[in-house]
Structures are given as structure tokens and as C-alpha cells.
Assembly symmetry: C2
Homo-oligomer: 426 residues x 2
Amino acid sequence: MKKSLLSTQPYKGTQDYYPEDMFKRDYLFNIWRETAKEFGYKEYDTPILEDADIYRAKSGDELTNTQLYNFVDKGGREIAIRPEMTPSLARIIAAKYQQLPKPIRWFSIDKFYRYEKPQRGRTREFFQLNIDIFGITQMSAEIEIFKYIDSVMRKLKAPRNTWKVYVNNRYLMDYIFTKVLNLQADQISKVARAIDNYTKISPDEYPEYLSETGLDKLQIGKLIDFLKQDLTYIEKLKGESRGAKELVELFAMCKELGLTSFEFKPYIMRGITYYTGTVIEMFDIGGDKNPRALFGGGRYDDLLEIFGKEKLPAFGIGWGSVTMMNYLETYNLLPEYSEGLNAFITLTPGQNLLESFNLADKLRDEGIKVETQLKEEDLKKQLGTANKRKIRYVFFKSGDKWIAKDMGKGIQSNLNLEDIKGYFVN
Amino acid sequence: MKKSLLSTQPYKGTQDYYPEDMFKRDYLFNIWRETAKEFGYKEYDTPILEDADIYRAKSGDELTNTQLYNFVDKGGREIAIRPEMTPSLARIIAAKYQQLPKPIRWFSIDKFYRYEKPQRGRTREFFQLNIDIFGITQMSAEIEIFKYIDSVMRKLKAPRNTWKVYVNNRYLMDYIFTKVLNLQADQISKVARAIDNYTKISPDEYPEYLSETGLDKLQIGKLIDFLKQDLTYIEKLKGESRGAKELVELFAMCKELGLTSFEFKPYIMRGITYYTGTVIEMFDIGGDKNPRALFGGGRYDDLLEIFGKEKLPAFGIGWGSVTMMNYLETYNLLPEYSEGLNAFITLTPGQNLLESFNLADKLRDEGIKVETQLKEEDLKKQLGTANKRKIRYVFFKSGDKWIAKDMGKGIQSNLNLEDIKGYFVN
């Protein structure tokens, strides 16, 4: 018998959300959601399951080959649990390409799955905020999303010295690859991956590491030189490279708007293949507890082509919950748990429970969150529990009257049913 | 090339949620959620994926054999996409059985999957509200959930003559099966299924249909007689059957509390095997457009045993989104779509976009939902669009001043940045 018992643990790499966990999750999600709405973004959603092919088209090798939860359904279709939102988003926009007025400003917060080795900052089930703008070629699309990010971080009270968004541009990298390093097409992806690892390898070993991609000494020198550059260098390239021009324009606007947490970094690549121009990643720069990117994003002006539609300029980010919750915990930015209950109605021996239900009705009609005791119990015990749970008001029966006890102030009086709201106006 | 294009359709039996669809979904979900909080219920969540075994233990044959999305992950584990919440809920309660103060009042709203033939009222992906109370043996647990249901239906403005919750009790059925019909253990599940189909088969054909389960004429007569009974009959059985006693007690409370939309129906069975006492189902009784149950639920006092824990009294319902949205549409109970945007900042040729961003900042700091035009365009065109989209205020530049135009009243004046909130106090 004992052997056949089921485990109470969740599936490996996933988490159960008890009310205390939901409270934290909601804190972040509500700020994401409310801020998106303040920016005029509309919420959308897509199914958890998708045709597996939509990830094969452009998502990149690691994601589709080793991390995808794909399987064949009972009808013989090969499907996958979505590992990211962008392909689904591109699909539903392509489906109503003509009808949707541009620009399209949309966001979504939901679950995703990747088959990962569970570790800090990496789980198999995770949430992601996706916020995207379609139909804007100009850098103002980037700026609007930058402002959104800045606004969210301000609401989270994130100290300026603990986060930075690093920005690069794929067109600039194309210029470096083809015009500066004169790479062949088949070398580019290898070198790009090596650049992605720039901060993970010590400066001493990096030249040797780069040589493994087939670069010669001269190329290695030029590349390492480039990876240390800042905006001053990029400024000089703006006549030759579209990417440099876009970066210069973007950072001129950042400067004027006081967006000081956004910085050019030439080694930001992003693994996903569908990106075109701007690419960005946010990092915890306040310590070494959270080395992984807090989010990533970029331009993907060509993605709609996989659904047979014309190009549509697009910029957006996917902001994961796992590293972000780690970040918020690291800097103690999460509020203390509160049940959010306003009132408690006691039940003592001999009392009629139905009267409690009727009183609760009246309170709830006013939007008051109230719990009713369902088992008869000693009054003192119930008052003690309500106190421990930090519930503001307790209502109990004395003779045929309801008494309202303010647990904060310790005062009690006959309940006045005509002015229930009055009790909860601080 | 054309052949290789990907489809823009969602996976069969699932739906994409464009902002207009999300608006409807949110309308229902917000009422579910807010009302649950008013009743002191806390939100929880569990992973989409579970060990497939937890559904084999007690969920019933149809669900586990034909409807389950189960597959083997890349590490060789057999997992399933959850088809219902109750086993996961029982699992996470069992995991913290000792620490959790009783009663436990929890709810959750999230996605589920069943491999179904898509049709009206049945999709492969669906949402479900699950609301459950643990730790209460008495019928007051049922009453609290009944009050919750009644409160939700009132907020949805559902006419009383369009819905009814039908109630039965598994202990009563056990009594009928063993004491009245003298069935053998192996006959019970067949007869139970036949009772489940009572309303789907014409009264003329029903005796013949029952005989296929192996019942003799006398048994068939007794069973059909029972299926037509009301509370008066049950009253007589309360000394002999625990189920009858519970039903009598439950409906006495319903009567006193004015819960008139709850009714005893002896043919309500519920397919799932883990139910113990009370079982309930809600139906659209206003017409024949929605013949499927709007939700189902019941007592499952023994379910924690599959995780090796003691019994814990439990009562709850799973309220699906699909039939419920059909119901709301049938009776025209959904509100008209609104973008929810408060203001729009225009951009005309030569204007500095960065000033728009700065103005938007100030508005958003006050919680105002504002969209900024990113492409230079003719003012008239932008005013027209804002009008069509029913946006209350448009802000535009005239010389070096911002003008605020109230689109509802058609009046405009210099924008007073000191009193931004004043514009939005009706």
C-alpha cells in the first residue's frame, strides 16, 4: 500500500503557488499589467499548445532541438507547449493582418515551458510578460518600450544602481561581421555565439577562445577592440552602418528624456534568429547573485513572413518571472504578505449561523472582504486568530446585537448596519 | 515556397484571445475573482504539467483514457497537461497538510486541456474557476459556496429564470443502490452512468435503456419512481440514509437564506469517482441552446488519501469558461467592448515627439491611461481616430501650448498641468 502512494511534489522544475506565493507573483504582475495599460497597451492571449513547426522556422537551435516540449496528440498532430510568445503573437497578427489598425500595442502575461536543467534563474515552467509594438519603423517604438521599462522599475522601487538595460543593434553587428572582419556567411553564427559569451570568459582566455571560431590574429584584435567600444566610436560609423545610425539616434533621445539606465554594449547578441535591428537585455548590476539577463528583446521586422505576410516593423520584450523574482528578493523589493481580508464574523456556541451569512451579505454588497466562522468556537479563540491574521474588524454577537470590534484600535461598539462603509474609511 | 508557409490558425479546439476576446474573458474572470475575495478565499495556482498518475488514481475512466494529454518528457517521465484542478489541489494541500490552518478557502482561475471533439460547449483548451473549502464537515460548507454562486450570478445580472443549480448526494445514491435496488458492487457504475443519461433519453425509451444495465422490471420501476421524487420523499428517508439527512438539512438552510435557485434532483450523478456526499451541477433552464452543465462540483472528503494523508472534508466546484461564455452570450449579459483608454496625445508635422513623452509621463503618474501618437500625421485625422475609438480627451499642441479637447463635450481649453486629475473627474 505505502509504495503506491502518489508524491505531493510538483513536476520537476515547476512550482506550486500557495496564496503567499501568489501574493508576490501578483505584486509583480499587477505592476506589469497596470503600467502596460497606462501606456495604452491591450492584453491578448494565445493557447498553451501550438503547431510545433512555428518554432522550427525562426526560434533558433537550442530552443527547438533541446528545450521544446513537443509531442504527438491523439489525432497524430505534432504539437508543442509554447516556449516563448513571439511566434504565437506573429501568428495571430498575421491572421488579422488587414483588419488590425496600426500601430498595434499589445501585451500578455502567461505561462511557458522549456525543458531545462532546473537551477537558479531557470525553471521548466515560467511566466513571461510580453509587450510589443507593431507598425513603427522609427526608434520611437524602442523609446516607448524603454519608457515602459523605466516606469515599471520605478514602481518596483528598484534602485538605479542595481539595473541596466544594455542595447545593441544587429545591423551594426552585420556591418562589423562583413565589413570590418570580412567574415564568410558560415562563420558568422559561430562568432556571434562567441560574442554572446564575452562576459562569461576571462579577458585573458578570450582571444584563445575566439581563435577556436576560426578567426585569425588580426580579426581577433579588431573584434576585441570593437567589443570595448562605446557610443563615441559608433558615432563615427553612422554614415556607413544603418545599425550605428539607429543607435546614435536612439541614444540621443534617451539622453534628452533622461533615460539614464539604458547603455550601448557591443557584446549584446541575443540567441534568437528572428531579430533584425535593435536588441536589448536587462541585467542586475548591483551584485553577482543574478548573472542571467532579467529580460531580452528586440526588433523582428521580418517575422510575419513565415506566415506569408508582408513585413511589419515590430519591437518588443519578453520579461521572465523567474530571474525577476530573484532580483526583487535580492534587493528586498517585495511587500510583506497580507491576506487582504477586511472583516471576520465569529460564531459562538448556540449562535445561529444563518445570521452570520446575512450579515456577510450586507458587508460584501459594499465590496468588503469578509470571512465567516463556520464552526462554533470560543469567542476569545476567534478574536485571537483574527488578531494574529491582522484582520481589521471582528463582528460578534452579544445578546441579539452585533458588536463591531476594531482590532487595530482595540475599541468596540454596537454595529451600525446603516453605515457599514464608515467602518472601513480609515 | 508557398507550400512551406505556416498556418495562422490556432491548434484545433483552441482559441486565440484578441483584445476584444480578453475583454469578455476578463469581465467574467474579474467577477469570479472579486467575489471569491469578498468571501475570504485566497488565490493559488499549480503547474500546467503534472505526473500523469495523479489522474489515474480517482478521476474516472473517460478523463484518463481518452481525454488526457499525456506524453513522455525528454527525461523519460510520463506527464500530463492537467485536465482538471482537483487532483493538483489535493496534492498541494497534502504537501502542507499540517501547516495549513483550517478551514482552507482557496480559488484558482487558469487553463486546462482535454482531448475532445471540438463542438459547442466543448473545446480542447478551456479555463476553469475552481473554488473549494477544506476542513468543514457540516453543510455550512455547501451553503457558503451556494452563496458564492448566487452572488456571482447576481453580479452577472443573470435572470433567475435562466439558471438552476441541481443538487444530489452520493450517500443517498449509495442507499438507493444497495438498500432499495439491492445492486451488486459491479452493477453500480453501469447504473450510475445510465442515471447520468436520464435527461438525454426520452421517457418512453428510458425503461428499455435501463434494462441494458441488467436491472429487472421491478428494479427499473423502483428506480424510475425514485428519479421523479422531490424533497418530500427524501424527508422520509432521513432516518435511514446519511445522504437524505444531509439533503434535508441543506435545503432547510437554503430556504431560510432565500437561496431559491438550488433544487434537489435525484438524477444528478457526476461522472468523477472521487466525490463522496453532495454533488451539484448548474444548468441553463431558460432555453435549449446550452444543454451542457454550466459547472459541476461536490464533496470529496477522501481524496487526500491518495497522497497518504488522513481524510479532510472538502467541497468545491469547477466552473468552466466555455459553456459559461455561451450562456452569457445567449442572454446578452456581456458588456460592450471598450478600449479603456483615457487620453490620446497627437503628433503633427514638425512637433517634438519628446514633449509628448514628457506629457504622457505626467498623465501616467496620475494613473491615466494614455496613448501617444508616434508618427507625424494631420491633426484632423488623429482627432477623427480618437473620436471613433471613444477616447475621452485628446491633447494637442497649438504654438507652444498644449490644448486639452474633451471629445465627449466637444469643448477645448489650455491644458492645466497642475490639475490633470481634474479632467478625469467626470
